[in-house]
Assembly symmetry: C2
Homo-oligomer: 194 residues x 2
C-alpha cells in the first residue's frame, strides 16, 4: 500500500487497525488520536472529519489495488492476464489483511458519504479485469456484451478471488499463495463445466 510519511501515515494506520476490529461506526476520532499517539488538534489538522479520514483510507486502498492489477496484466492478454491478476490480487490481500477486511465490509454499504468516489474507483479496479475478459471473446455470446455486463463478470472473477483469499487467510493460512491461486483459477478455468 502507498506510504505517506509522518503523522498523516500514523493516523491512517491507527484508523485502519481500529476499524478492522470494531468497524468504522465503532471507531471514534478519540480512539484514533489515542492509538496514533497524536493530539486531537493534530488529528483534526490532518483530517477535518472522521468521514474524510476513512474516505482517504478506502480510496487509497482501492487505488493500490487498481495499480496492482494494472501491473500484473501488463503485456498479457485474455486468460494469461486473468491468471496473473488473480495471483497478484491474492498476494496483495495477504499482505494487507486489515485493509482487505475493511474494504470487503465497505463494498456492501450504500449509506456512506464517500460512496460516490469509492464507486468510481471500484469501477476503475474492476475495469482492469474487463479488458482481458473482452479479449477472451466469448462475452459476445451473452444476451448483451455491454460494459455493465462485462463489469458484472469482472465482479464475479474478483469475488471468487476475494473469497478464496479470505478462506485462506482466516481458515487455512499455512497454504502457499500458489496453492490458493490454483484453487481459485480452478473455479474459473472451466474445469467445473464438464
Amino acid at each position: 500500500m502507498p506510504r505517506e510519511s509522518g503523522t498523516k501515515r500514523a493516523i491512517l494506520d491507527a484508523a485502519l487497525e481500529l476499524a478492522s476490529v470494531n468497524g468504522i461506526s465503532g471507531t471514534t476520532m478519540d480512539d484514533v488520536a489515542e492509538r496514533a499517539g497524536v493530539a486531537k488538534g493534530s488529528l483534526y489538522y490532518n483530517f477535518s472529519s472522521k468521514d474524510k479520514l476513512f474516505e482517504k483510507l478506502l480510496l487509497e486502498g482501492v487505488g493500490a489495488l487498481t495499480e496492482c492489477l494494472r501491473t500484473a496484466r501488463a503485456g498479457l492478454a485474455g486468460w494469461d492476464a486473468i491468471e496473473s491478476m488473480v495471483r497478484a490480487l491474492l498476494k496483495l490481500l495477504s499482505e494487507n489483511r486489515a485493509l482487505a477486511r475493511l474494504m470487503a465490509a465497505e463494498i456492501l454499504r450504500t449509506d456512506r458519504v464517500w460512496q460516490h468516489s469509492l464507486h468510481l474507483l471500484r469501477q476503475e479496479a474492476l475495469g482492469e479485469f474487463v479488458e482481458p475478459i473482452r479479449q477472451t471473446g466469448g462475452a459476445t455470446t451473452l444476451p448483451d456484451g455491454s460494459p455493465d455486463r462485462l463489469t458484472l463478470i469482472a465482479g464475479s472473477v474478483f469475488g471468487a478471488t476475494l473469497m478464496g483469499a479470505l478462506d485462506w487467510l482466516v481458515f487455512d493460512p499455512d497454504r502457499s499463495v500458489e496453492d490458493v491461486a490454483a484453487s481459485v483459477l480452478y473455479a474459473l478455468s472451466g474445469r467445473l463445466n464438464t
Copy 2:
C-alpha cells in the same frame, strides 16, 4: 429465512435492521429494544446478551442458506447442480439483502464469540458445493484433491456468486436474476479460459 413468531422474531428483525446499517459493534441492546418496541426486561428474557442475539441471527442465516443450496441441487449432479445453486443463491440474497450484507461483513471476522459455531455452519454451507465439484471430476488433477482443497474451490464459487449478487443489488438492481446468473455462470463456465 426462517420465521419465529412474536417477540423473539421482532427482536431479531430489529437487530438485523440496525446492524445492517451501523454494524454489530455500532448497535446496542438499548437500540434493539427501542426499534423492536419491547421493554429491556423482555429483550433480556429472550436473549441473555447481545452476543447471544447476534449469534442466533447469523446461525439462522447460514442455516437458511445451506437449506436453500441443498434444495437447489436435489436430483442434480456436477455443473447442472452448480448452475442451479448459483441461481438459488442469487435469489435468496436478493430477497434478504440486510442479512446478506451482515453475513458478508461477518465472514471476515475472527474475534467473535460465535466464531466457532459460525465456522462449522459455514463449512456445512460450502459443503453443499463440494459434492458437485467433486462430481465434475477434474479436481483430481490438482496437486491434492483433499477436502480442504475442495472447500477452497467451493469458497471461490460462492464468492463469485456473492460478489455478483452485491454488484447487482447495489449498482444494477434493474437486471433480472436470470441475467445476473448468466454473468456469474459465465465467469465459472470456462469461457474465460480460451
